[in-house]
Subunit: 350 residues, 2 copies
Amino acid sequence: MNEIDNDSFQKSHKNVTIIDVARASGVSYSTVSRVLNGYEFVKEDTRQRVLEAAEKLGYVANLQARSLAGGHSNIIGVLVPGLDNSYIGEIIRGVDEELARANYDLMLYTTHRQRGHEQRYVNTIANGLTDGLLLVVPEVPTDYLKALSEKSFPHVLIDQSNVRDSSSMVDSTNWQGAYDATRYLIELGHRRIGFITGMMELSSAGERLDGYRAALTDHSIPFLPELVAPGDFWQRSGHKSGLQLLDLPAPPTAIFASNDLMAFGLMEAIRERNLSVPEDISIVGFDDIPQSSIVYPPLTTVRQPLDQMGRVAARLLLEQIENPDRPPRRVTLATQLIIRESCAALKERG
Amino acid sequence: MNEIDNDSFQKSHKNVTIIDVARASGVSYSTVSRVLNGYEFVKEDTRQRVLEAAEKLGYVANLQARSLAGGHSNIIGVLVPGLDNSYIGEIIRGVDEELARANYDLMLYTTHRQRGHEQRYVNTIANGLTDGLLLVVPEVPTDYLKALSEKSFPHVLIDQSNVRDSSSMVDSTNWQGAYDATRYLIELGHRRIGFITGMMELSSAGERLDGYRAALTDHSIPFLPELVAPGDFWQRSGHKSGLQLLDLPAPPTAIFASNDLMAFGLMEAIRERNLSVPEDISIVGFDDIPQSSIVYPPLTTVRQPLDQMGRVAARLLLEQIENPDRPPRRVTLATQLIIRESCAALKERG
DNA sequence: AGTGTTTATGCAAGCGTTTGCAAATATTGG
DNA sequence: CCAATATTTGCAAACGCTTGCATAAACACT
């Protein structure tokens, strides 16, 4: 007789839709939609009734439908190369925190498997249900950006400052960070300072090299090409280039690796040569990923506020979504030299 | 002056739809859909024409529409607590690899901000555009599972074996791994072996404790409650419990931490007490996350094949999606003791 | 040629929302 | 009390795609 308690009965398969809620609260589905979207002109009374019904029925919006119909999904996509570097994890954490605050969800895309299909991939994403996209890509994302700009899809670049595209972006003071680190080493008395580069296609790698070089110059220390070994931001390359540097006829007394991961590889290399840090050789890294304080000895490094970069990027993106006509912004956050135990003053040679 | 904005002109940059492709290739949109979905009965000739048109127009499927209409999105969701533990990263990597092979995309959800809203959260997900869900959740996911089972939504649990729910799941030999590690320590001559537990709400934590205990018993070593300190799988707790163990009147000569992260915390504690690993105390961890080989001394640990677990879970899920009536499966992968340098034979006390 | 099968293709009905437009109702000022 | 205005609500048309049903074309066979 009473139709109200067929809950358990009809709960089964079908999902609760806006229409069910409408029926249950005795209004049209449009009204329900308006209530759900916080539309202004709805009678308070109605609003309550709808909300209650929705709650009772366990209504959950169907995002696909919503975004198909032109609404926004409250999901933003994050495009990363992969999860195998905690550098990425840190950024994502920041992003996630900020998004959570704004009640957005996070959709994560990895690119490492898309080589050669970037364009198409990003199209799919932009075509999809995300309201915006954050890019932490491993190489200059020209292909991506073209597609994005073409549809003027909201997006923000993280840690890619050399892009001439007019996208919003956030990075950190790579040059200054490298300069500070190098100067620190110099102030400890080191003169032969090795350098392991990052993946030079990335702007950050170049900036760090420049910073290193500038510090040398400013202190009248000659820049010696043989003290610069190539790296690609991965641990393995740090190890390899470390060995190369250590095996030099006149090896450096300190080495600056363009990121922490490579500094770890370098540490391995140093141990393999039966040397120890920092007694025999000082090393400093870049990034300050979580492991850096765990390794032994704790690594002196240039802290890049990764999580904050993620946070800022997210905020920028959100603003851009809200106000599409806003001109792109560029934010550069300050790095900070974190002194731990991997550096020592140069011993006078006896 | 009144300038006419070119923008508004270009703005009509509509996305290419299935209909455009249909028009361009002179067939109906249904046919296009069939071609795109690999439907069997399409004339080869037609198929080619459609494919060409699609390519030429740069068509990209709209996933929302597709999945709204009942198709599948080729996206699977992964629900993780957060990205701040590389344990998670490893699993995701495996998942991602396997999904890439099957041409699926990965959508990542973090739960850490959803405390208390699990049910609703998972509903959103299952209601959304994912074809299936992988759960790597930090606590017993009762709430999640209820919702999932109710709609018989394809899902696989990772590393949660104590759930009585009939979901598919993959885990590893936690008990055996802990047993092996403990036995190894015993064989090195240790008798007072400390243990730092994991978050006991998790099945894996309990199994590891049991394995430790069993090994002790099998070697006629008494199980001493005071040698067991509580942990929660996070580094901080490893540090704290480590201190607790070290400060015992009769401290252990070896400590087994229920995961690597806690082992790192433990290492800190040991250094703080001016002891060294492995000379003064041997330690072993569990998981073998990437950092474990980097720390000094390299950590002896029980390797859990995290990436493979992810891969297997993904495969299980995909099979389940393809064949919904398949009974749930449970896969347990073998752990392996990785001997590095954090353990040493017990020195005879003089 | 006629009948029965296989293919191939098209039509139209959704899927669950949002939103412009219009109708209905309430509110206000005169 | 009426017209004018502001506030609420409903209807219907998308959004881009999948799919059941129907129709058409192609190919067997008698």
